[in-house]
């Protein structure tokens, strides 16, 4: 008999809030702790290598050489950890993106930016995460939309001053088409698919050449 799982306490049931619901906030590690940064690094690596579902406090702890509870000291809940990764990454990307889009060939830059393995994989993981953890969905889609808005503005500006010529095609349409397919390509590649990939790259290059000149 013994030990059949007794009904435990009502116990806050892990209600998926960021940090703390509204009362007694538990203590957290300082923003500029080296350990904290390491935890974010490790989480990034895990997400890229095995997907968001592979991120657990224990695994992050092992990879970082610390104990699991320490992870919760810096990030009370896993959602907090994911959000920290998202924010750090987004801040870095905003800078990189601005530099790239300012050049003579914004479309080509966009394609390069979005086919970057790391960026594409990240965005995909976060989209999957947004679907799974509704509590951080808003944060994720807000960032994604923000990037898109910046890119759209860059393309529209380039069309306006004649740096690129889309032949009358919608800038927003082209942007989304390129963004989504670059992401898709990288994800397919990651699982070993390859049919048609070379052809898309050639096709896109052809379209970019037509819009921005040069072969």
């Amino acid at each position: 008999m013994a030990v059949a799982n007794q009904p435990k306490k009502p116990q806050a049931k892990s209600g998926r809030k960021l940090s703390d619901a509204g009362g007694t906030r538990r203590r957290t590690g300082s923003e500029d702790s080296k350990t904290r940064a390491t935890l974010i690094d490790v989480t990034e690596r895990l997400m890229l290598r095995d997907g968001y579902a592979a991120v657990t406090s224990r695994r992050v702890a092992v990879e970082a050489g610390v104990t699991a509870p320490l992870v919760h000291y810096y990030f009370p809940s896993l959602d907090d950890l994911f959000v920290a990764v998202l924010r750090r990454r987004a801040e870095q990307q905003v800078v990189r993106q601005a530099r790239l889009l300012a050049g003579e060939e914004p479309l080509r830059a966009l394609w390069a930016f979005n086919t970057d393995r790391k960026s594409a994989r990240f965005l995909t993981e976060f989209i999957g995460l947004a679907n799974h953890r509704k509590s951080i969905r808003g944060e994720i889609s807000a960032y994604a939309e923000r990037f898109r808005a910046i890119e759209l503005a860059a393309i529209e500006a380039a069309v306006a001053d004649g740096r690129i010529d889309l032949g009358g095609l919608s800038p927003a349409g082209i942007l989304v088409l390129l963004s989504t397919s670059s992401r898709g390509l990288v994800n397919e590649e990651a699982i070993g698919m390859s049919t048609g990939h070379e052809e898309v790259h050639a096709l896109v290059e052809q379209l970019l050449a037509r819009a921005e000149g040069r072969t």
Copy 2:
């Protein structure tokens, strides 16, 4: 968060095997059991609603109104369950796809087929799963490549007999471009993104009209 709880068994560390590694296969439920079909139904629903990471034997059991061990009776490991979902779904889709692609407007059919919410969400979940559970990655990408090959053949045939005119653009390139972006669109939509979506649909319609005629 669910995530694999792999037994630490000595068992050939060569990675997960489907069903049984090589000896004593445990008993399994019959292929045509009603319960078995229900478990696959429930798993599909869970994957669509909360993502692959939300699929646990316990959750599946609750939703199906059975006990958790019964899930393992039909599907010794969770990977077996995922593979069953994949196979059943793929078989259904092959039929649907063949019917659609045989028509006068294969490109339009392709776009419709791939922007179907359920299909797109599924493929995305399986790609994520392939990344997370490497043991079934091959199975997943093999199916995806098989679908792509069929689609490619359909497009090439349509180009050959003049039903569509791609203006010299690569059929494989166009195919991958449409497939990846349709999937991306659906996923973005699922998390609440919308910038540029209308424009892509219009853009694609424009391109399809050019290739297959008609407005």
